[in-house]
């Protein structure tokens, strides 16, 4: 079972390590982790995607709540959230593959944001599921580097 944790933490040095350490120490998976400041500069929001059985999911929430740097934990299933991931992919192209890559970008709504005579960087911002599909579609061309932000998510307005 996959679960999204939206965790508000004190914006202090070392807090990321403490939260990540909690997962590693108890052998919980982190599928993705994204951190950024909120509207309050003293508070950061961590979006953690994890998976496990019901007991693990509950324990993760309780253990997060136990951390003294954690202000609030919200947890929700993927379908209750609006989630997005930003992905940058650097690919090598030639005249045979160029058209194909551009078509894929058009179909999936990705943009080419940088280019040389041999390489291009494609930017895609979409749900984690669609970014993964897009990457699979590019497996035929030579991918040089990939950088993904990890999933960012907020609970849907209708679920509040």
């Amino acid at each position: 079972m996959r679960r999204i944790y939206s965790v508000l933490v004190e914006n202090r040095s070392g807090v990321l390590g403490k939260v990540a350490g909690l997962f590693s120490r108890r052998c919980y998976n982190i599928d993705s982790l994204a951190v950024g400041e909120t509207d309050d500069p003293d508070v950061s929001c961590m979006t953690i995607v994890s998976s496990g059985d019901q007991r693990t999911i509950e324990q993760i929430e309780k253990q997060l709540n136990k951390k003294l740097d954690v202000i609030k934990v919200k947890t929700f299933e993927e379908q209750s959230a609006i989630s997005r991931e930003l992905m940058l992919i650097k690919v090598k192209y030639n005249k045979n593959t160029r058209r194909d890559i551009m078509e894929n970008c058009d179909i999936m709504g990705a943009n080419i944001v940088d280019m040389s005579k041999t390489h291009m960087i494609i930017q895609m911002c979409d749900t984690p599921e669609r970014t993964s599909i897009f990457m699979k579609m590019l497996t035929g061309v030579s991918i040089v580097e990939v950088a993904r932000t990890g999933c960012l998510a907020l609970q849907k307005c209708s679920e509040e």
């Binding site: 324990q59 136990k66 003294l68 740097d69 202000i71």
Partner: protein, 540 residues
């Protein structure tokens, strides 16, 4: 006023009278401030781990003020780690102060630098690295609050030497703590408490399963009152020993792998089990379904994360045991459990192991029975780790006293420093540490601390020439192929006692026991007793 002066002022404001530690350059300003103030006594232990254990023993008897230890940076701090982890596993409130290298040098891998807040992250309740001298009063106030409330535990404060030396603008000790992320629930939810009462009304075979949390919240008397009022039997975990007098009519012993058969039977046959202040850890309940199958499990704990972690429950109840028993005591209900009590009494009569106290050696269980019967009712019994611990759990009689041991981490060498801290906390009470020849040698350097400070701790060493519990494990699981458990090379304890100016007595067999115990306990002085145990003895 310097940061170090402020640290000492904060400790004084918290009522600290005693600290344990080991100085070094990085903590020198602090120790100078301790000396200059003259209001706090500091004890120099002989290795840092003992500082944490001694502070643990101190606070477990004091029951109000967290234990305090202070050591230097680098190896001083890393040597403290096992003591911190031990306190964490048993939820013992400690304030652990470590010196650190100069702020600007942190990260440079300089002399005696260790990332101690990083190293300790998974076994402190919270940690601080001071980076502004003006934060020290707030940090100290928060640290004492965090360590000593909710589920108690150790808090680490790492203080770079320049922060200890820096001048602060002013010193005001905050009157209250304001932490938005830390507000433990102590009062139980009334709806849940009513559910508990409803279950007890329906129950035929209820059982209270008490852990160390009850003792830590000073709720033992309330638990006893509740048990007596409603005629509910009680078993305990290792950390819960002493929650009721061990000879109490309603007490049916320690549960678990090494517990009493009748205590485990009570757990299995109960239809409503109230687990309070206990973790349902593997040594106490080796299969979690034992405690949930065919029964209603009520789990009371101040730490919400403990509830449901290892088992069940049917009814979760978050709160401090002391508050919860107040609420439970305010409820009246009708139930008759006398048949169940009769059943448990018959199990206790039938399943209590008959002791064989003959032979050429001292029989540890029989010895412990005699010893604790001769000790004063309010004595403090400190058990180490190994066979000595399991024998102690099975046979020590604790009436109005305290039973201290390390149940969670099982740290060898705990008993001597912890007994020292306990005795210093309440010098009027008799304190006896019981260890094996293995665990004794892990902390025997503290005999010097005991001598230096004239601490009247009585120490008993069960000498069987082996790491007995491991030998026993190899006996059962490795066909008597003993590997790395032979302790030949042990020092002559009589000579050792003489070297530390300590009276000594060696007990060879059961015939000598009564006289030896009388001599050993007669005066309030430090004493070393060695009991010769059959090398092949096993914990039954």
């Amino acid at each position: 006023m310097t940061g170090a002066d402020i640290m000492v002022k904060c400790l004084e404001a918290e009522g600290v009278k005693e600290i344990y530690g080991y100085p070094g350059v990085a903590i020198a300003p602090f120790y100078e401030a301790v000396r200059a103030s003259g209001k706090i006594h500091s004890t120099l232990v002989r290795t840092e781990q003992s500082a944490a254990h001694a502070a643990s023993g101190y606070t477990r008897i004091n029951k109000e003020i967290p234990g305090v230890c202070a050591v230097t940076s680098g190896p001083g701090a890393t040597n403290l780690i096992t003591g911190i982890a031990t306190a964490f596993a048993d939820s013992i409130p400690l304030i652990c102060i470590t010196g650190q290298v100069k702020s600007e040098l942190i990260g440079g891998d300089v002399f005696q630098e260790a990332d101690i807040t990083g190293a300790c992250e998974s076994f402190v309740k919270y940690s601080y690295l001071v980076n502004d001298v003006n934060d020290i009063p707030r940090i100290m106030k928060e640290a004492f609050h965090v360590a000593n409330t909710g589920r108690k535990g150790p808090v680490l404060i790492d203080v770079p030497i320049d922060m200890q030396q820096a001048e602060a603008k002013k010193f005001v000790y905050p009157s209250e703590v304001n932490m938005r992320t830390y507000k433990p629930t102590v009062k139980g939810n009334m709806a849940q408490i009513n559910k508990v009462i409803k279950e007890l009304e329906k129950a035929k075979r209820p059982l209270i399963y008490a852990g160390g949390g009850v003792i830590l919240s000073n709720a033992s008397a309330k638990l006893e009152e509740f048990a007596l009022k409603n005629n509910i039997p009680v078993v305990s975990t290792m950390m819960g020993i002493g929650v009721l007098p061990t000879n109490h009519t309603l007490y049916y012993g320690m549960v678990g792998n090494n517990g009493k058969a009748y205590a485990n039977r009570a757990v299995v046959e109960s239809d409503v089990i109230i687990v309070v202040g206990a973790r349902v850890a593997d040594r106490a309940v080796n299969q979690p379904d034992l405690i949930t199958k065919d029964k209603v499990m009520i789990h009371i704990d101040v730490d919400p994360a403990e509830i449901g972690k290892n088992a069940g429950p049917s009814i979760p109840l978050v709160g401090d045991a002391s508050y919860i028993f107040d609420d439970l005591l305010s409820k009246e209900f009708e139930a008759d459990y006398s048949a169940w009590i009769e059943t448990l009494d018959s199990y206790r009569d039938r399943l209590e192991v008959k002791l064989d106290s003959q032979g050429d050696y001292v029989d540890a269980p029989a010895f412990i029975q005699k010893l604790t019967a001769a000790m004063k009712n309010d004595s403090i019994y400190v058990a180490d780790v190994g066979q000595n611990q399991l024998w102690s759990c099975g046979y020590a009689q604790i009436i109005d006293g305290d039973f201290l041991t390390t149940g969670g981490m099982g740290t060898m060498g705990y008993s001597i420093p912890a007994a020292m801290g306990a005795k210093m906390s309440d010098p009027k009470r008799q304190v006896v540490a019981v260890c094996g020849d293995g665990s004794f040698q892990m902390s025997m350097c503290e005999l010097a601390t005991i001598r230096q400070n004239d601490v009247a701790v009585k120490i008993i060493v069960f000498n069987n020439g082996y790491l007995g519990l491991v030998r026993q494990f190899q006996h059962y699981n490795y066909a008597d192929n003993y590997s790395v458990v032979d302790l030949s090379g042990n020092p002559d304890l009589e000579k050792l006692a003489a070297a530390y100016d300590m009276p000594f007595i060696r007990v060879h067999n059961m015939d000598e026991v009564d006289d030896a115990i009388e001599k050993f306990l007669k005066d309030d002085n430090r004493y070393l007793m060695e009991c010769m145990i059959n090398p092949m003895a096993v914990v039954k």
